[in-house]
């Protein structure tokens, strides 16, 4: 009974993607050569996801380290706050960001005055991706740091390292694989984001918005190649993750 349920679930998860790629994959790849809008959407998606991931790693790495290593008052609250974007519906996340960064808000107004327009620009896409995907990076990075025994750092400190130097020379290299895997997960999540992006920046279109746009404007036949190319793009981080997880971090005494 359990085997049957598992098999059915496996089929339910795998068949739609396989069907999508087999039905539209080849056409989608061919279309990449001729369809400028699709090409631009794909490169915009990859670029904004990369920018969001870099920003997420920059701000998220110290946060993850803090959560993994230090025991402080309010740690549980901070953890919960960081998980919140994963739990709310993504259009709601988009609306929340619009409230913060839209021209009506103080921050949005100040940014526009400084020449930085977020809503309706690639910056809005990056903001939406960062908001919904950074918690995944932080959570993964926290786990990666927790796997490295703090006594490695302790020894480095007694050998003359400052906390920053011990982090850079010991903890960072030892958690490198885990951090990279977390960044890949964040990038994949950013690429697949739709709900928050569509509220902040409909145009220029990222691939997910383009596939939705083609579906609502022209129907399934037009949307299929775009959707299939997006599914193929998701295979890139999946393969990277498999390769990374194949090897052990090895941060044991």
């Amino acid at each position: 009974m359990a085997a049957l349920a598992s098999s059915l679930l496996l089929l339910f998860l795998a068949v739609p993607i396989a069907q999508l790629i087999s039905a539209g994959g080849a056409a989608g790849v061919r279309q990449l050569a001729s369809d400028t809008e699709l090409r631009e959407a794909m490169s915009l998606t990859a670029l904004t996801a990369t920018a969001a991931t870099l920003l997420g790693a920059l701000g998220g790495t110290p946060l993850a380290y803090l959560l993994a290593r230090r025991d402080f008052r309010g740690r549980a609250v901070l953890s919960a706050v960081l998980d919140l974007p994963l739990l709310i519906p993504h259009p709601v996340a988009g609306i929340a960001l619009l409230l913060l960064l839209g021209r009506e808000s103080a921050l949005g107004g100040a940014m526009i005055a400084a020449g930085l327009r977020v809503v309706g620009t690639p910056l809005g896409i990056v903001a939406a991706m960062l908001f919904v995907a950074a918690p995944l990076y932080i959570s993964g990075a926290r786990e990666a740091f927790a796997k490295v025994d703090p006594r490695f750092e302790a020894v480095a400190r007694t050998l003359g390292d400052t906390p920053l130097r011990a982090f850079l020379r010991i903890t960072l290299p030892l958690s490198r694989r885990g951090l990279t895997a977390s960044a890949v997960v964040m990038w994949a999540r950013a690429v697949s984001e739709f709900g928050a992006i569509v509220v902040l920046t409909y145009n220029p279109k990222v691939a997910s918005v383009l596939s939705y746009d083609r579906f609502t404007s022209f129907g399934l036949r037009e949307a299929l190649p775009v959707a299939a190319v997006l599914a193929l793009l998701a295979l890139v981080p999946l393969t990277a993750l498999r390769t990374l997880r194949g090897a052990d971090d090895g941060a044991t005494p």
Binding site: R151, A154, A156, T158, P253
Partner: protein
């Protein structure tokens, strides 16, 4: 110098509680105690890796309580070595080394120069410990903290490395504090022994004193004293009685002749112990067994029946039942064979008054 003054710390649910002791400059201290007594935590607090919550820690006349580990000028070697797995053996030893020449020299002294081409992950537990020792020494610390640093070495290598560590300790004038489970090692290496249990320092002093004059019956039993008897103390006299003739000490320092009654046994000893209930500790190696009636200068003689023999290599432990009270004596296996001890045999157990320690 390493001096802890009422040092307290918390690590998870474990608490180190008002630990006080001092290891003078250039001396070798050993920390002994049961598993979970806080030995590793103590080293971590002294090194600054774990923050002290109370008290103070002084290294070489300097209050280091608030200093970070990198400013304390010490070396720390964990039992599990914690070699950096992404670095080579040579890079591990050179990490924080005072100079590359010194790194090479200590690598040679600990025999790790032959391991440089091996990846850290491929090293055995013993080899890792050697590299960890070389890495700590290469920094040329003035204080060295060692947590069971020889536990994975084979007995032959352990003796050699122990000698090397002791030689460097002397040559460089280091102050060393080593955690060990091995009482022999504690006796061999230590100038000062600190006994830790439940996060508290129960007793500290020269190892000879701690082993021969434990402060409580619990310490005596932990340190392997086989004969710990509960009883009552009665002071006989403050003048040296006849039976003290031949003893290795006289009634100096306010010592008095004491009669100790433990059930059917009456023992004689000397000390400054107050009248009332107490414990008598007699180490097994202090008890002499003979087949004949008591002879010699020992004050305490009891006839009893051998109930058990246990041979542990070169030593044999013989349990003698004296009016229902078991006393364990330790003698060489050769002597036990020569005297042909066997269960049921009637023997005489003798020990000097000075062999009885009251606590």
């Amino acid at each position: 110098m390493i001096e802890c003054r009422s040092l307290g710390a918390r690590q998870g649910s474990f608490r180190l509680d008002a630990v006080s002791f001092a290891i003078p400059t250039g001396q070798y201290g050993v920390v002994i105690g049961p598993a979970g007594s806080g030995k590793t935590t103590l080293l971590e607090v002294i090194s600054g890796v774990v923050s002290a919550t109370s008290g103070s820690c002084w290294l070489n006349e300097r209050d280091c309580t608030a200093l970070p580990p990198e400013a304390r000028g010490l070396g720390l070697v964990y039992q599990h070595a914690f070699l950096f797995p992404h670095l080579s053996v040579a890079q591990n030893i050179a990490y924080g080394a005072a100079s590359s020449e010194l790194a090479e020299e200590v690598a040679r002294r600990f025999g790790t120069d032959a391991l440089t081409s091996r990846p850290v992950r491929a090293l055995s537990g013993g080899e890792r410990q050697l590299v960890a020792l070389a890495r700590a020494f290469a920094r040329r610390p003035s204080v060295l903290l060692l947590d069971e640093p020889f536990s994975s070495l084979d007995p032959r290598r352990r003796t050699i490395v122990r000698r090397e560590v002791r030689a460097l300790h002397r040559a460089w004038g280091l102050t060393t504090l080593q955690v060990t489970h091995d009482f022999t090692e504690a006796g061999l290496l230590g100038d000062v022994a600190v006994l830790l249990d439940g996060g508290r320092a129960l007793q500290s002093g020269p190892p000879e004193d701690v082993f021969r004059r434990p402060a409580s019956p619990y310490i005596a039993e932990f340190l392997g004293a086989e004969n710990v008897l509960a009883g009552t103390v009665r002071v006989l006299d403050d003048k040296a009685p006849d039976w003290l003739a031949g003893e290795s000490a006289t009634l100096a320092h306010g010592y008095r002749a004491i009669e100790f009654t433990a059930g059917p046994l009456t023992l004689y000893t000397v000390g400054d112990f107050p009248v009332g209930d107490g414990y008598a500790v007699i180490r097994a190696e202090e008890i002499v067994l003979s087949l004949e009636a008591p002879t010699g200068s020992a004050r305490n003689h009891f006839r009893g029946v051998v109930s058990e023999l246990a041979t542990l290599g070169a030593l044999t432990r013989v349990t003698v039942e004296i009016a229902g009270v078991p006393l364990v004596a330790s003698l060489t296996t050769r002597s036990a064979k020569e005297l042909a001890f066997r269960p049921g045999m009637v023997v005489t157990a003798s020990f000097k008054a000075m062999a009885v320690h009251l606590c």
